[in-house]
Assembly symmetry: C2
Homo-oligomer: 333 residues x 2
């Protein structure tokens, strides 16, 4: 059983312990940006002395927020640490006098060099290595944010976080086993569709976003959009007909009823065979304590859907990570 | 020439003048939510004593941010004032002790009744009435936010705003006349496409979002997504081929270079005939003063694209506002 936060995280917390901080910027691009959304959800629910913003790294630089200064903490993330915009954002933030913490797989990467403090995490997507999700990007981000909130006296969620981390990988493995039998059926149905939408709210929105833009669009060239499950009713739902394909996420944070309403509409006006529902209520999450049950739901969904992506890719005959025409193939854009 | 802020705005500012405020929540749904994004852009760039968040109304309620309390100002918007989630958000915020200001066409609507202070604006989309854009949702929101920033001593942008408002409708009319000749050509090309994407950054993102979800998806049942112009390079750009259809917005705020980069990529790897570029640099915006040149660009784009939507609808044989299967036709969802 995990009894303390990761060493990198403790060092980072110690490095900032005497700093007067009032605002956190969560800054990244693409898939790494997607985890910042549930990070902000955690902060919105629990932070008293800290306000926060989530920004794409280049937007952050160009926007040049007036709150960026000595009282700002900027947490940046890039898997490889080579994302140019994110490394540039770290330099930009440091020049503005802010405290910078970089999350990356590679402590020697350009992002790591650009930031003041580095917190390493692990990933299985790109490397294929088997990891414990307790060391994943989500886990490390929540350790960092929970540690900060405890340090600032806002709330101490660490006692709920540590056991949740210990039980996380098991919950993910069980969720994969639960959904896997249905994947071939859906992959066969979804393989030739021109568009697959995802819906989610609250802590799950980032996972829906990442799946839409980094998996469906980037790796499978399938048109997509992550639709916020209430915004759905203010425009997007008009595209729903019996042929429209959706992946609907239902988590277990405070926004669950928003996600339920979208699911109910999809099952009523769409075709049930074209609406794949991933519902945290069907899973055994008993080892996770609130609020982390809700906050880790998107990681569980994303890991589960990663398996689905490979199934879909196999049926479409388009390899996953190799299925790119521009990213890492052309460099002068 | 406009010499003072609208009476409603002045009354609202007067009502909150002695309140200690630290955080602004910008809350709405769909098209009304879209204007809150440039509102936040204005605040991010210029606010010193006020931090801010933008939320879909039901997300706001379910999320129940810890910053929501007596020092919070919640600005809500709903065109008709009948959007249930937004009226509920106003009640929720008042119960939490926050100050609430409602923006709506109808000062007798449920939203107006729910909020403490009401600021009316005008719109031509739903009513067809000819209005002066100086009284539009964008204009009234900027008056409110600029007035607040001046009142708090953060910065006084009112001297730049007032002449900009006086010249706004003329700038819109000229922009429409400039783009209109190209619309039939693009409408004919785009009429049967399964997906049309929009791209934008900074102050323009909201307009790209609203066009994607409220016009293309809601009124024309065309699949879409508003892609942030830098996020574009972290996944979505992989769907680009010669047949992919885009509407690319290029404004004149600090994020312009992000939008230029997306446009350059689209023109290089897509088909120029399938990439409609709306570029503020081509327009005569000389009557608008910065930062409002950049902040009004999205309104100009949206009004221009509204004309394009009718052209597209005519060619597709699908009427605009009548082209809905669910919204205002079914009520029990």
């Amino acid at each position: 059983m995990k009894t303390e936060l990761n060493e990198d995280v403790r060092k980072a917390l110690s490095a900032v312990s005497d700093r007067q901080l009032s605002h956190i910027f969560l800054v990244a691009c693409g898939g790494s940006l997607s985890i910042m959304h549930p990070g902000k959800y955690l902060l919105d629910r629990h932070a008293l002395t800290l306000t926060s913003d989530v920004y794409n790294a280049d937007e952050f630089i160009c926007r040049r927020p007036r709150q960026l200064g000595e009282k700002a903490l900027v947490i940046l993330c890039s898997q490889t640490g080579t994302t140019k915009e994110t490394a540039a954002a770290a330099r930009f933030a440091r020049e503005a006098g802010a405290t910078t913490i970089a999350m990356t797989l590679d402590p020697k990467s350009p992002l790591a060099s650009a930031a003041e403090v580095v917190v390493a995490y692990q990933a299985h997507y790109t490397t294929g290595a088997k990891i414990d999700a307790a060391n994943s990007n989500y886990a490390v981000l929540y350790m960092l944010l929970s540690g900060l909130l405890a340090q600032r006296g806002d709330v101490d969620l660490v006692p709920q976080l540590l056991p949740s981390l210990s039980n996380l990988q098991h919950a993910i493995d069980k969720a994969k086993a639960f959904y896997e039998p249905s994947f071939d059926r859906y992959a066969d149905r979804y393989r030739d569709r021109p568009v697959i939408y995802t819906t989610a709210a609250g802590a799950n929105y980032g996972a829906a976003y990442s799946y839409a833009i980094c998996v469906l669009m980037e790796m499978q060239w399938i048109n997509s959009q992550a639709i916020h499950a209430n915004e759905f009713f203010h425009g997007p739902f008009e595209v729903v007909d019996r042929s429209a394909c959706f992946i609907a996420l239902l988590g277990c944070d405070g926004t669950r009823r928003i996600e339920e309403r979208a699911r109910d509409f999809l099952l009523r006006f769409g075709d049930r065979d074209n609406v794949m529902v991933l519902d945290a209520a069907e899973l055994d999450l008993s080892g996770l304590e609130q609020p982390f049950r809700g906050l880790f739901a998107p990681l569980i969904f994303f890991d589960v859907l990663w398996v689905f992506a490979y199934r879909l890719a196999a049926m479409r005959g388009q390899a996953m990570l190799e299925g790119r025409r521009y990213m890492k193939k052309i460099t002068d854009y």
